[in-house]
Amino acid sequence: MSRIGKTFAQLKKARRKALVTFITAGDPDLALTERLIPEMAAAGADIIELGMPFSDPMADGPTIQLSSERALAGGTTLAAILAMVKRVRRGCDVPILLMGYYNPVFIYGPERFCRDAAAAGVDGVLLVDLPPEEAGEFSRLSDASGIDLISLLTPTSDGSRIDKVKRVGRGFIYYVSVAGVTGARSSVAEDIGTMVERIRARASLPVAVGFGISTPEQAATVAAVADGVVVGSALVKLFEQGGGDELVSRVRAAVAGLKAGVESAS
């Protein structure tokens, strides 16, 4: 079983829920990302999701768009991200998931990407614009490398979509709780519980919920009905005020707060 699968299994045994935290790799530079991964894990993140920046982030709201621009302006590349993960792996065992768009992976070469990512210690990959219809070849390569291809489901997904997605999906299902782009919202959607149940009835994978979750209270609400909570933009927003030691402590405090929210529902 993959590190991601094991994490969900252990949490389930302990009747606890997973906190998945997202930051963009290379915002503002990869040295800071490298420092933040163990810091976030120590503050309570169960899985770390790293954004692979892309020039045209079509599924992202303004917060992550700007973050991607900062990372690209700093010269972040896929090869450098993989090298950074490899360094982190020497002293840190937290599951790491790369999230992004297909083109940079396609240009890197899907086969080479899966091989290098597995060698670096990457556990999963989520490609926003690679639906199951187009994921055939990639999913064979990621399966062969032992990398979980994380799949998305959304409020627009009906039973047939769930069945289609679960065939290629590994690790967990990422349920996008709102039809829209990434970004903080004032309240979480009400029908999350119903959708999570619908997905669980058809797919055997754990379900983590993301998009629009920013506060410990929202994290608690979602953790009550799902197997995991994903928080992205709320953390990425913290990077807008500059980097350095202060940013590290801001991120640590925010992750600890979200963890408390998730734990209160467990």
Partner: protein, 438 residues
Amino acid sequence: MKPKRLFLAGFPCNCFRRYSDRVFKSQPCLGRTLKYKQYGESMNYPDKHGHFGQFGGRYVSETLMPALLELEQAYKRFKNDKEFKAEFDYYLRQYVGRPNPLYYAEKLTKKLGGAKIYLKREDLNHTGAHKVNNTIGQGLLAKRMGKGRVIAETGAGQHGVATATIAALMGMECEVFMGAEDIQRQSLNVFRMKLLGATVTSVTSGTATLKDAMNEAMRNWVTNIRDTFYVIGTVAGPHPYPAMVRDFQAIIGREARRQHLAAEGRLPDVLVAAVGGGSNALGLFYPFLKDTSVRMVGVEASGYGIPSGKHAAPLCAGSVGVLHGNKTYLLQDADGQIAHAHSISAGLDYPGVGPEHAWLKDTGRAEYVSITDDEALEGFKALTREEGIIPALESSHAIAHVLKLAPTLPKEQSIVVCLSGRGDKDMHTVAQAMGVSL
């Protein structure tokens, strides 16, 4: 696998050789084993998943998948529906003013001293460009699907105007996304859209041009997926858009084919059209695909010239990648980040191209050349002075290629060039380029 078929004799720009190795080595390409004759025998492209060989497809987030499947079903149902076709034809005739003429540009022909030049006059359409053929089709489809709101991306503003126009006609709410830079250089079209009742939203993210407008339109669509219809303006985007837009624009080629047969008693020898996303070109080419004696030439914008790196010619100088829902040729760097396109013509200023053009290029059925900003201005001036027709800067690229091509062909041959739009919108840009202040 069959040996690579070389169809490069006299290939006008050297681009193919330079980039083919890189592309073919890294990608298994179904296209290259298919001879163009096979393409001619079957027009059943794309396949059921929207693929033209390795190109096309549906690279979108899961939220959009059900909407695209719904659109595909609706389009399949209505494209052969008698009532839908009758209504589409009615608006093309009574509202757009079709059929528009296939005009013999006699004076320009004589001046160049070579093949006969025929202009397909899309510039005479209502709203001044070919874009309206497609927006009428998608508007009627949106209405039948019960969507009360349409959105669109636009570069030069022609597609935005065409969408705002049909939204006014059909009583739908309309929002148009336009790059902040384009809003500045196409202020006249922005005003037209607003007069027509559309909201024009300025896009400042990324490079603030057409590609970013398309990103923003996709974001808006995903957020309002239940009541909104996204009217894509070119033969790109996720399936079924490339095929659907092509089918709506194919009226250009169907008319031109019939009109040329009536005028000359034979098919034309060469078709020439400008290619940004590629909708006017594909509209002209598609009905001739089976006519393998007819050469097809797509003209991309090479801006300051391909060596400068500041151009908009992905077919001539790009590589295969995935953007805006489809796999196609793109301008991108070695890390797969999309590059900034440049062209004097806002409508060609896009780093990608429709997937069917990518396929026509790789199969050799069509050839692609490029024209610089300066050459396009020469084309613009030549048509204006010789024929009294002021072309859009997009169409001026096609004209500029004809200025090179026509003198090399015998007088018995003929060229059909798509005059995709009129030049009124470009007065400011042309004046600026000529150093004239208005």
